[in-house]
Amino acid sequence: MNQTTPASAWADLVSTALVGTARRAVPEPAGLPSVPGADPARTLLDRAAQATLQRRAGLVPRRVAPIDPAPGESAPVVGAAAARRLATMLGGTGVDLLPEWLALAADTGHRVPPESLPDLLARAERHAELRAPLARVAGVRGAWLARLNPDWAFLRTGSAPFDAARWDHGTAAQRRAHLAVLRAHDPAAARELLDAAWPTERAGQRRRLLEVMTDGLSADDEPLLARAAGDRSANVRAEALGLLARLPGSRHGAAVAEQARLLVRPGDGAPLDVGRPEPAPETAPLLDITAGGDSSGSPVSADRRRRDLYWAVVVQTPLPVWPGHLGLDPGAIGEAARTAGMGDLLDALAVAAVLQRDPVWARALIGPVARRHGFDEDNGIDPRALLRNGRGGSTDLAAALLNVLPEGERCAAVQRWALAAGAVPPGWLLRRPWTDEFSVFVVDALRGARPRNGTTAWYTATLLCDAAARFMPPEFHDRLPCDEGEHFAVLADRLRLRSTMHKELL
């Protein structure tokens, strides 16, 4: 603030006060009325009061140019009810529905009320999964606001200027956000930047910077990924290999396929024959991932190392290589691996199908993988096996394969299994939107289950309700057996809430 009392006069008073009037004479600033009195301490305080009031009452405004205003909007703001819902969620109630709300608002061509933008942006800063949906509903105002705060760079689109200072001196998260911005509109520059910074980044940050590359992955990224795949850190290598495996038609893929053909061969008598994995000179630095020790750097046994190498080779091999090489279709390959007890091969192929997002292979491998883990479509499933493997177990692989399939097929598969088992379908298998048909089936299953507290069936039904609350179409709220247990009532409430939310946004 500009002051009418010269700043130096006030500074004189302050420095005198710090030393004390016992040791320094009280200054007499020009422009202040003189004060009577013999006590220098009181005189100093009186002058301080005068100067303070003169500064406050005589404040002179500065000239500062206003910021450029936001351009006009075209999309309409959501309706009043939806806006209230959003405000309630941002206040902390039902905030888990925020991603769904944002996606719906975007699909119906709305934008959020401007006053909610700061809260939403702050939340998206912490929760990356909100960023893409928020970008679609933030409107022109949101893009404008995000430009005012470098922490919100993730919302920028188009030709946002790259801020080198932010990259050089920002926090880890800010730097990742900047890399993502640059990658979105100039992938080559982003690659150069990452390549140049690579040697000086810490391992954790190297891995997360690589994660930024996931969006817009292309063949041009291969040299950089290959470099990262030879990283000191096992975690960085694993991340890089995962990305490499997704690159179709890469040189890396061709080189690994070469090795894969030696490792897994058409069998003599048996359908498959698995050789002893040996690191090939060309791909060894990439695939022999535990050569330098595990993720904490401790050495690993030769056996473990060989198994890791084997796994890496199979996961990295482009899946289309196999049928031609082995003379079998994907389903037959999976079944052969299972019946021959080659569980590692089967699981590695399944991981490859998930990573390479290959629905043909996913469809073909679900049966063998499920059977390997205790499901048997033909002879009925043991529901206890389902529950035992329910969370974090190897049946996650089956769930991951299911999620590669189109929606209808995914739901139908789970329904088929559940019917075969005569059991309630395990809800955790389906953490994606449900079809109407599947929802009807689940409602019937819930109605028949009549679970009692503390039983396995109750536990299964609870898990199923959890999944249904998020993935069942909300119109099903009035088709639930609410009188058959509290968790159905809770589910119905939840669906009703989502249904209201959908209606508010229409």
């Binding site: 603030m1 006030w10 008073l13 302050v14 006060a17 710090l18 030393v19 004390g20 009037t21 016992a22 040791r23 006590d39 220098p40 301490a41 009181r42 100093l44 305080l45 009186d46 002058r47 301080a48 009061a49 005068q50 100067a51 303070t52 009031l53 406050r56 009452a57 005589g58 404040l59 405004p61 500065r62 000239r63 500062v64 140019a65 206003p66 910021i67 450029d68 205003p69 936001a70 009810a81 209230r84 405000a87 309630t88 206040g91 902390g92 109630t93 039902g94 401007p114 006053e115 909610s116 933008l117 700061p118 942006l121 105002r141 404008w144 606001l145 005012l148 705060n149 409430d493």
Partner: protein, 448 residues
């Protein structure tokens, strides 16, 4: 209530969700209320108009856990915060059922106007009876029981305050003579001892100022703040000694020392007051809330202040973005007032504002009446956000005032205005501008 409720359809401005949640004693209550605010949980809900009043009584029956049904009623016309009752055993005040009912009503999800069950009328009758008794009681207690004793007490307090201020002055002068450089090493005890002495001498507001300085010496730039405050404290001591000050300055001195202002004998003439803004703060373990009002015709500034202990919510006698047709009772000290009678409330258009120069002129004038002023309401017309390292509010001429450190970065203000020129109500303080309310391009008020 003996008379039947009128059968006219009344139109009342429903509250916004924000207005309701502003009543919540803490954020947990707000969340709990949102959970209760589901039509399915309220077999009975509605609102009824009361004769001669614009604000309705909202009522409902809420199914609690188990078989309990709670009767909830809120009288929105009650001066101050709404009068409310719930039969649940919660110790939160207001409880989640009251808030939930109001949320339901605010969203228009109640069953609409009706007389409601019998107990609503009974509750209203009891309320009225209590109000009448309180009115008689107040009339009785208005006259002091023993004028002579009261005068003796007042004299004694004057002496005590004079003693306390004399000690404070000596304490200030000693430090100015010895130098302030060592203050940060002294810790809170140094300030608390003096503050306690001032409390004993019944100079409570001076004590609070001294206590606040204890924390200030840990902050950068503390010598400036401490010297300015020492100067102003000494000015206050000097002011107290002088009997011949202009009446308003004299009133300010006494108010800043801690003498309770005496209410003016009669309310100010009925007028429409524009609610400019609201600021919530914490003072000495209390949650405080102040509203700034401006008389539409008189241009007079009024300041409604309420406090609640931690865990409670200060009253909200008015709402931002509205105009209230009311009679305000002013205190003789400063601009503080209370609502004596409230006749109506309407949504308001943005208030008339001025330039930065106008704002500074009114601030300077207010400082002349009260040099210890900490916040003064100003309304800027066509204010725009400006930025050059720090954040500013600029008027069309380019004159700009800095925003207070605790108001930046002003993301909400930026989001609502989009950087466009807007009417902005703010508090001008010694350290900068604190934005309180902004009116967007469609004239809607947003609290900042």
């Amino acid at each position: 209530m003996s008379y039947p409720a009128p059968r006219v359809s009344f139109v009342s401005e429903r509250w916004s969700t924000d207005d309701v949640l502003a009543l919540a004693p803490d954020s947990a209550s707000g969340k709990a209320a949102a959970k209760v605010a589901k039509p399915a949980l309220w077999p009975v809900s509605g609102s009824r108009a009361e004769p001669g009043r614009t604000d309705p009584v909202v009522f409902g029956e809420c199914s609690g856990s188990g078989s309990a049904v709670y009767q909830v009623s809120v009288d929105l016309a009650a001066a101050g915060s709404p009068g409310h009752r719930c039969t649940c055993p919660s110790r939160k005040f207001p409880c989640k059922h009251v808030l939930g009912l109001l949320l339901l009503w605010a969203r228009g999800q109640d069953s609409g106007p009706s007389d409601g069950p019998e107990w609503v009328a009974e509750w209203l009758a009891r309320r009225q009876a209590t109000a009448e008794r309180a009115g008689r009681g107040a009339a009785k207690s208005a006259a002091p029981a023993d004028p002579a004793a009261a005068a003796r007490r007042a004299q004694r307090r004057e002496r005590l305050v004079a003693d306390g201020l004399a000690e404070l002055e000596l304490w200030l002068a000693d430090q100015a003579a010895a130098g302030l450089a060592g203050l940060p090493r002294l810790g809170y005890a140094h300030w608390d001892t003096m503050a306690k002495r001032l409390v004993d001498c019944q100079a409570g507001r001076v004590a609070a100022r001294v206590r606040e300085l204890g924390g200030a010496t840990a902050e950068p730039g503390w010598p400036h703040r401490v010297l300015a405050e020492f100067g102003l404290l000494r000015l206050l001591c000097e002011g107290h000694r002088r009997e011949s000050l202009p009446p308003r300055l004299r009133a300010a001195v006494r108010a800043r020392i801690g003498f309770a202002g005496t209410p003016e004998p009669a309310p100010a003439p009925r007028e429409v007051w524009t609610v400019l803004g609201r600021h919530d703060f914490t003072a000495e373990e209390l949650r405080g809330r102040r509203f700034w009002l401006r008389g539409r015709d008189s241009g007079r500034t009024a300041h409604l202040l309420s406090f609640a202990p931690q865990g409670g919510t200060p009253e909200s006698p008015v709402r931002v973005g509205t105009e209230v047709d009311a009679e305000l009772l002013f205190h003789t000290d400063d601009h503080r007032a209370s609502v004596a009678a409230r006749h109506a409330e309407h949504p308001a258009v943005p208030p008339a504002g001025g330039t930065v120069a106008d704002a500074l002129r009114s601030y300077a004038a207010a400082l002349a009446d009260d040099p210890w002023l900490e916040a003064w309401p100003v309304v800027l017309d066509r204010a725009a956000l400006a930025r050059d390292g720090g954040w500013w509010a600029a008027d069309p001429s380019g004159d700009a005032l800095p925003l207070l450190p605790d108001s930046v970065p002003p993301w909400r203000l930026a989001a609502v205005t989009g950087g466009a020129q807007s009417t902005l109500a703010a508090e001008l303080t010694p350290d900068g501008l604190r934005p309180l309310t902004v009116w967007d391009s469609e004239g809607r008020a947003a609290t900042l």
